[in-house]
Symmetry: none
Subunit: 220 residues, 2 copies
Amino acid sequence: MARILAVDDDTAILEMVEAILGKDGHFVTKACGMHEIDMEKLNAYDLILLDIMMPETDGFALCSKIRRLVDCPVLFLTAKTEESSLVKGLALGADDYICKPFGVMELRARISAHLRRERREHSVKMAVGGVCFHLSSKQAVIDDKEIPLTRAEYEICEFLARNRGQVFSKEQILENVFGFDSESNDSTITTHIKNIRMKLSGFNCMPIKTVWGIGYKWEE
Amino acid sequence: MARILAVDDDTAILEMVEAILGKDGHFVTKACGMHEIDMEKLNAYDLILLDIMMPETDGFALCSKIRRLVDCPVLFLTAKTEESSLVKGLALGADDYICKPFGVMELRARISAHLRRERREHSVKMAVGGVCFHLSSKQAVIDDKEIPLTRAEYEICEFLARNRGQVFSKEQILENVFGFDSESNDSTITTHIKNIRMKLSGFNCMPIKTVWGIGYKWEE
DNA sequence: TTTAATCTTCATCAAATCTTCATTTTTCCA
DNA sequence: TGGAAAAATGAAGATTTGATGAAGATTAAA
């Protein structure tokens, strides 16, 4: 269901978290401290669970570092029950603060609430120009008629539509759709956009606008 | 800062919430029960606080009704401390669950965390005197209508608006907007300013003043 | 392996934008 | 009030950026 990163110095807690969340279908990555986290790959996670008191690692500092890098929900899971600590944690950019010992049901409920919100805020309303994205089959449909997009074209459309209104440069589209390591040329995107526009225009649908000097966006 | 709707049957609590959140600059609307809420105008709020046990109103039912209408964060603020109740509340679409009696600092911290997240997930904006700058897409908006600024024009506007009230010479604007190494002529700025003014005046907006012999400033 | 589909690159064209400059207008001050 | 300095204006040329069409490279399918 979701990819969750859990950071704690207590492996027993990590095991327990994995057991609980694994049952809900989540994939939990365990990290015993900051050194086990690849900061480059933080955007591989949908949600991050953080302990505060860890040897060699300050959870608060880690939280603000993470927050500078990614936007996913960050939850503290800690034995520090003082209100001041909660306030500090949330002020640093965390999204929730759960005290140990935590209720299993509470943990699950809070995590799914955060994931749900993330999906809610990122969900694609299919009313946009009537284009409907079938995420699993990777097909785009207008008025029940399939648009014959290639894989790359579909991915670009889905990415732009998912973040409609936002403008992305060609580099950003490359990174987000084909991965950080993509060494493709910008012109690849230019050409894909051209082909997408051609195909969509057959359906009287022109949702992709170019913002001069900046990039492209899916019209809101 | 934010418009918050608080629903509770206990007016003492409502007053208290208003006092606390008012100090943070939020505007709190108090509702003593469902009948006092205009469901048509829910999207006027940035965040909603809900009690669960209210005469004539079931907070849970209200929560799911609200969730069907708007996407803003909904927080329960309740005396029901059972874990099952928290689980139910979050499952119905709420984003947080705070138990009474709540700590003042905790309430403030949690609310600002939720508001921050909402802003984070929507794009970063800076509003200056009626003009709204979408920092990531580099677009300026007045009354939800986009101002067709070019890249350079936008950058100059954003720079001046960000430092509104301060006067900058043409050289300073060149350096700050186009970089120290810019070898452009001052007249470039003059022309950009002219074009910006022309475009903004279409929106009845004349924020850029010339300070004779010194430079330009964005009126405070 | 052959064939077709898709992806990527590149040269060229067109358009938007940026820059410059000559000219006119405004402002300041003697 | 007149003249000098500064800013505004309008238009032309230079530059940058995006669109286009076609060809080669890569991948998947038959």
